[in-house]
């Protein structure tokens, strides 16, 4: 602690030998009370105050600007919501002329258009890099398309459009808060939707995830497949009318894939629809009712899986003597004979029965190891991807 002290020093000084000659002693005493001179400070007029006014004005401007911005946004949002295409109101998803080109000139999606009706499980099939994921990203409002439109239940889909709340999605793998358990993650997600708690249907979603007691472990300790299943469950929370799943079976083992297939097929009943992307032919064939085949950013084929995957007029034959067989087959009036590998031939039959084909070969002494009817989808794929063994849509 401080004690203020006041010291009064009285001193004498020699003033040019003017002091009296005789020695003398002086005694000094305070006369009565010692008073200190006091002064009331007057603040110097400084420009400081003006800065406070500037600060106040600045805050007012910022708040005003914020208010104007909010009002403009609200008005714009209200206008956007009202734009409904009544003709498409019953259709879960209509994509028309979608195109996405990046600034560096890369065109991820050239032109894609397809429709998903109620009750359908549509497979978006294509090699890696075909533009599937880009399409789904646009569909989730994460990416703005360069051209084209998407309508979900008749509502134009733009980033952040409200209609997205009727769509459940798994795009480009799961995304969870690693420090929370699987169950907490689903709860945190649903809390962020701001929708009523009972609409979430946690029990059904958790049953689909099939994680058992692991659902109470932190997701950072999950395997790839467990995360994937939890992500599918998250997409199904609230049972959205349109479910969009990007490579849903990635990381799942065969029994789980089979189970997922059944879940998706069951999900699409009762007026709901599912859009699944995959690069696996068999996957789409077994799960989907309809397929859309994409390559290099374009639609190659689309329609019911039965039509697309049905048998094609061509057949693959493995023979012991390729040149001889080629000669014989050409004589039979087939449309084309293309070598396939060391011993294989792809024959476009042009209506000739398979039995006659084999009989002619055997009669001529050419051994037949294998006759495999080809399917249209494979043909389509081969024609598109070519014989390039990379088999990918890299451009």
């Amino acid at each position: 602690m401080y004690k203020r002290q006041l010291q009064i020093v009285v001193a004498t000084s020699d003033q040019a030998f003017l002091t009296p000659a005789a020695p003398a002693t002086y005694t000094v005493a305070i006369d009565g009370q010692l008073t200190l001179p006091t002064l009331v400070g007057t603040p110097i007029a400084s420009p400081a105050a003006i800065y406070w006014y500037v600060l106040g004005a600045l805050l007012a401007v910022v708040l005003l600007g914020l208010a104007v911005l909010l009002l403009v946004r609200r008005a714009r949002r209200r206008r956007r919501v009202t734009a409904v295409n009544a003709e498409l109101a019953e259709t879960p998803l209509v994509v028309t002329g979608l195109r996405k080109a990046y600034k560096d000139g890369f065109v991820a999606v050239e032109e894609i258009g397809f429709t998903v009706e109620r009750g359908q499980v549509v497979g978006l099939l294509g090699p890696n890099g075909a533009g599937k994921t880009t399409t789904l990203r646009v569909l989730m409002g994460l990416t703005t398309p360069t051209a084209g439109e998407i309508h979900v239940f008749g509502h134009r889909l733009v980033p952040g459009a409200q209609i997205l709340s009727r769509v459940g999605a798994l795009v480009e793998g799961p995304g969870f808060l690693p420090h929370l358990t699987g169950h907490q993650n689903l709860e945190a997600y649903w809390r962020a939707t701001g929708r009523p708690w009972e609409d979430a249907r946690f029990d059904e979603a958790l049953e689909i995830a099939g994680l058992g007691s692991s659902v109470h472990r932190r997701t950072k300790n999950y395997s790839h497949g467990m995360r994937q299943r939890l992500a599918i469950a998250q997409a199904m929370l609230g049972l959205p009318e349109l479910l969009v799943l990007d490579e849903p079976t990635d990381g799942l083992d065969p029994p789980q894939i089979a189970e997922m297939r059944r879940v998706l097929q069951r999900y699409a009943t009762d007026g709901r629809a599912v859009l699944v992307s995959s690069h696996l032919l068999a996957e789409v064939e077994q799960t989907c009712t309809h397929a859309v085949v994409v390559n290099k950013g374009r639609i190659v084929a689309s329609g019911p899986v039965g039509d697309i995957v049905g048998e094609s007029p061509s057949v693959t034959i493995d023979v012991t003597d390729v040149p001889a067989a080629t000669e014989i087959l050409t004589g039979l009036g087939v449309r084309s004979v293309t070598p396939d590998g060391a011993t294989g031939l792809i024959v476009d039959m042009n209506g000739t029965p398979r039995a006659e084909l084999v009989a002619s070969l055997v009669r001529a002494g050419v051994g037949v190891d294998r006759v495999v009817p080809r399917r249209r989808l494979e043909d389509a794929f081969l024609a598109l991807v070519g014989d390039n063994s990379r088999g990918s849509g890299d451009r």
Binding site: V62, V84, G160, Q162, P174
Partner: protein, 301 residues
């Protein structure tokens, strides 16, 4: 597996509904939900915990340090006077805790809360699911910003509060002393301390703004936090180069020590106002760019 078909909703009930039942854009990602999201994170708990721990560590250090035998810190200036007076009372102890943290620790804490919030969601991949709910992008940013600032202010308040509490318990409730002014009575001292807290909160908005902008631009949380701290340090260094002249006045760190004006009698507020103006302009610019960018960009994470 459950029989979804039998228990399901009837989607046909209102086919033209513009949104799912119960969905309202203004109700998505409630503030409380975001507070819980962040509260469950280890880094939030650690940062806030450290704010409580630091005054205790300083107290223990003073106790072990013994008397005032070592005068090596007496380099002069306002800061060393704070060191000398730190043990003279609770207010002075709290002030000391703030003074030692203001230069770097609080900068890191503000950068951490503001810089980590969006970038970490992007790196986990959960950002795209929030946007697909859909949480409107501007709302997502606004909620994240408000909650991040809330946590940062809480950290600041915890530091000062713990310092005041611990200091008062140990050194008593005495006037706020400083060597550059008369003693300030405790009641007014608390007001001054609150003023200092408010000023620090405002000046650190620059860090919060910069970190938040970087958080929107990058998917790497560390990059956002580190980048903001780095630029703050750079600005501090430039501020010490007197050759730069009046350019230095425009640096965001130039007025970062202006809170010391609140310790003098009468208070010197000119620099406080200038500092607040500069900080608010910077923060508004950074946040503005962040909102502009985030509401338009393609989310690629």
């Amino acid at each position: 597996m459950s029989d979804l078909a039998s228990k399901s909703v009837t989607p046909g009930r209102d086919a033209s509904a513009s949104a799912a039942t119960g969905y309202r854009p203004s109700r998505t990602l409630p503030i409380v939900a975001e507070i819980r999201r962040q509260a469950s994170r280890r880094r939030t708990q650690l940062a806030l915990g450290f704010m409580v721990l630091l005054p205790l560590i300083i107290l223990v250090a003073f106790e072990f340090g013994g008397g005032n035998g070592d005068d090596d810190s007496n380099g002069g200036g306002a800061f060393s006077s704070l060191v000398d007076l730190a043990t003279s009372g609770g207010l002075n102890f709290a002030l000391f805790c703030l003074a030692v943290s203001a230069g770097f620790l609080l900068v890191v804490v503000f950068a951490l809360f503001a810089g980590d919030t969006v970038a970490s969601e992007a790196s986990w991949g959960s950002l795209r699911y929030l946007l697909a709910i859909p949480v409107p992008r501007a709302r997502l940013l606004a909620v994240k910003l408000v909650v991040a600032l809330g946590y940062a202010f809480l950290a600041l308040f915890l530091l000062a509060g713990t310092g005041l509490l611990v200091g008062t318990l140990r050194y008593g409730w005495h006037p706020l002393g400083s060597t550059i002014a008369a003693q300030i009575p405790p009641g007014q001292g608390v007001l001054r301390l609150l003023g200092i807290l408010a000023y620090l909160a405002v000046i650190l908005l620059v860090v919060a703004g910069l970190a938040f902008l970087l958080s929107v631009l990058t998917d790497a949380a560390l990059g956002a936090v580190g980048g903001a701290v780095l630029l703050w340090i750079l600005s501090s260094i430039l501020d010490q180069i007197t050759a730069l002249g009046s350019i230095r006045n425009a640096l965001p760190t130039h007025y970062s020590d202006a809170w010391m004006g609140l310790l003098s009698t009468p208070v010197q507020t000119e620099d406080l106002a200038k500092g607040a103006i500069s900080a608010i302009i910077y923060a508004v610019i950074f946040w503005g760019v962040a909102f502009f960018r985030f509401t338009r960009k393609d989310i690629t994470s």
